[in-house]
Symmetry: C2
Subunit: 375 residues, 2 copies
């Protein structure tokens, strides 16, 4: 039965130990994966945090902002979202150095209409802007049941799921999305005119929050690269080859740059809607106005919605219902692996990575170390 | 290049003329499609409305409610959504006669928390309840920028897109979704534990509203039947056969009842999130609590959100931006057909059907006529 989950995040396993190149930072383990093609380091979570914080402080971040940004990066890798955790940190630094990201610019509310607000991100760090806007949406939801903050002129928010987890950790429902540069061909087209706009929906549940964090392409380019490096085919079609045929060959899609939207015409349409909503609600730029170069991708538009139904219900009722829904979903008949709910694997990976150390690619770790020394 | 749009709605074309079985109602045309397998009637829009209204009045609907319900059904068929237009009308009547749908029950606000409201649908007609709740969300958005109405204890809303069009026709953004009975296997499972929960996102645009109306399965069972009757394979995999292999054979999926969620694990997760949100926000039932029989599917939970960014912007600015976004999306390079935006085909079909008459399957028309005579 063709029904397994993709293995894009199964990057690491424990092995020997090794000395860190960085003084005071222990490397717990590494391993040689898939015929020697990948060797991953495992660094204790607190050490990762320490290094990231030090680098950000050297770049001029205020103490609190450096701590939050370091935490958001470290948590992404801790939770298994390596592509938007430490792997993305060097680019974040390059974009600070090139002036795209303005280190201490803080977002500002520019317009308000009831429970809908517009904020200007002022080219500040995307993760800090997003965190502050979700915090504001959460505060609005606690006063008015629902709050919506639309943010213009911001930068890449790194891991979108961060702001979903932020909402559910605060006990409310969180929904957010961002537009991106044009990097996904609409259905029927061969050139990338849609954004791969990630959508996050998060529902609090004491037994394990339910957090969907999905972009509009079936596989991210990070996932395609991981499959290629493992020498594996995709479990389902992931795009077109250069001849315009569906393919499961990750390298063929990397070459054609024609990744497939989820659900073909449906994901293509959804990507358009998310861009329309983000730009119209925030008054910011749309995908076609954003520089089509990931090192210059800026002035993004984002939307943060929080909802707080709890005051309308007796304590515990919603938690019990959420449990029931998830349990019923997971009790499905399968040929093997149990059905997973969105966010479930994050918790498993988090536990494992906190115990064994955060997996980091050696090249990325080296780059961060070099920056730390050079700054 | 594998990139065409599905042909599920290409059901009708003009042909000869024929007398209606119903006095005073003209049948404009019919045609013999695809080797005689389908013959469609074309009835003038006003005549369709007249017949539906008469039937609903006989069933005890108050005048205004009968008119609105008749209009929503007729508009669905007018816009090419035949499966949730007249095709669904006989079942609507059966569910009224069996007492599942309470003809004149009106929804009532039961709890409110700022811009978030809970309404009780009281088992009223799903389309009328949904229309009233979207109207309330629109009113809230005009006062407070955003409004969210969560509705419990309602019935099937028929065409979900109706309430998206309602919002954009009122000049605001509309987002709504419903849960359903369990009719879609989660990714990795073989039994239907998820709902095929439709999601509607609608953005107003004077040159043509952009309205996404999509369920969580790649193809609806109505679409599968249409492909099978035309003797065609699906353009992409639509589900599993009984051996658990991906298939493009519509009949094989009808047999296995294993339709594919859009984006495999992604649509499966999204279906779960929409059910969680609908049940938790409304305090109503979740998919696993809804009778798994379409003739007894009731006590659904739905969410209606409206957003009105217009007062935060100079007149015309948002319209121009929406036009630009859509034009850029549509200017993609293709091998043939132009890229479509969500809702574009609806407008084309609407124009054609208003000119040529509303396509109705003869069996459905006969059933409606018999009900009209019998009541």
């Amino acid at each position: 039965m063709v029904s397994s989950y993709p293995k894009t995040r199964a990057l690491c396993a424990p092995a020997g130990t090794r000395k860190s190149l960085l003084p005071g930072i222990a490397v717990l383990s590494e391993r040689n994966e898939s015929k020697g093609r990948l060797i991953m380091l495992r660094i204790p979570y607190t050490d990762v945090l320490k290094v990231l914080l030090r680098v950000l402080l050297k770049l001029g971040f205020e103490q609190k902002r450096a701590a939050l940004s370091a935490r958001l990066f470290a948590e992404a890798s801790r939770d298994g979202i390596y592509s938007h955790g430490l792997n993305r940190f060097p680019q974040y630094l390059r974009m600070i150095q090139s002036g795209i990201i303005v280190v201490n610019a803080e977002p500002e509310m520019v317009k308000t209409f009831g429970s809908l607000e517009r904020w200007d991100g002022k080219s500040g760090p995307g993760n800090l802007n997003a965190y502050q806007c979700m915090a504001r949406a959460i505060a609005l939801s606690r006063e008015r049941g629902i709050g919506c903050v639309a943010l213009a002129n911001t930068n890449h928010w790194m891991r979108g799921g961060s702001y979903g987890w932020q909402a559910v950790d605060a006990g409310v429902i969180g929904i957010c999305w961002t537009n991106t540069l044009a990097n996904l061909p609409p259905w029927g087209a061969s050139d990338p005119r849609a954004g791969n706009n990630p959508l996050i929906i998060a529902v609090p549940r004491p037994k394990g929050h339910v957090v969907l964090d999905m972009a509009m392409s079936q596989f991210s380019y990070g996932a395609l690269a991981a499959y290629r490096m493992r020498g594996e085919q995709l479990p389902v079609d992931g795009g077109f080859d250069t001849a315009g045929q569906f393919t499961r060959d990750p390298a063929a899609i990397e070459t054609s740059k024609r990744a497939l939207p989820i659900g073909y015409w449906k994901g293509s349409g959804l990507a358009l809607m998310l861009d329309l909503l983000a730009a119209l609600l925030s008054g910011g730029l749309a995908t076609h106005q954003i520089p089509a170069d990931s090192e210059r991708e800026t002035n993004l538009s984002q939307v943060f919605i929080a909802l707080d139904p709890a005051p309308m219900e007796q304590a515990g009722t919603l938690d019990r219902l959420a449990d029931e829904i998830v349990e019923h979903f997971q009790s499905s008949v399968t040929g093997g692996e149990r059905v997973r709910y969105p966010g479930e694997r994050v918790l498993q990976t988090r536990t494992e990575n906190l115990a064994k150390g955060i997996p980091v690619e050696p090249a990325i770790w080296r780059e961060i170390q070099q920056l730390d020394f050079a700054l």
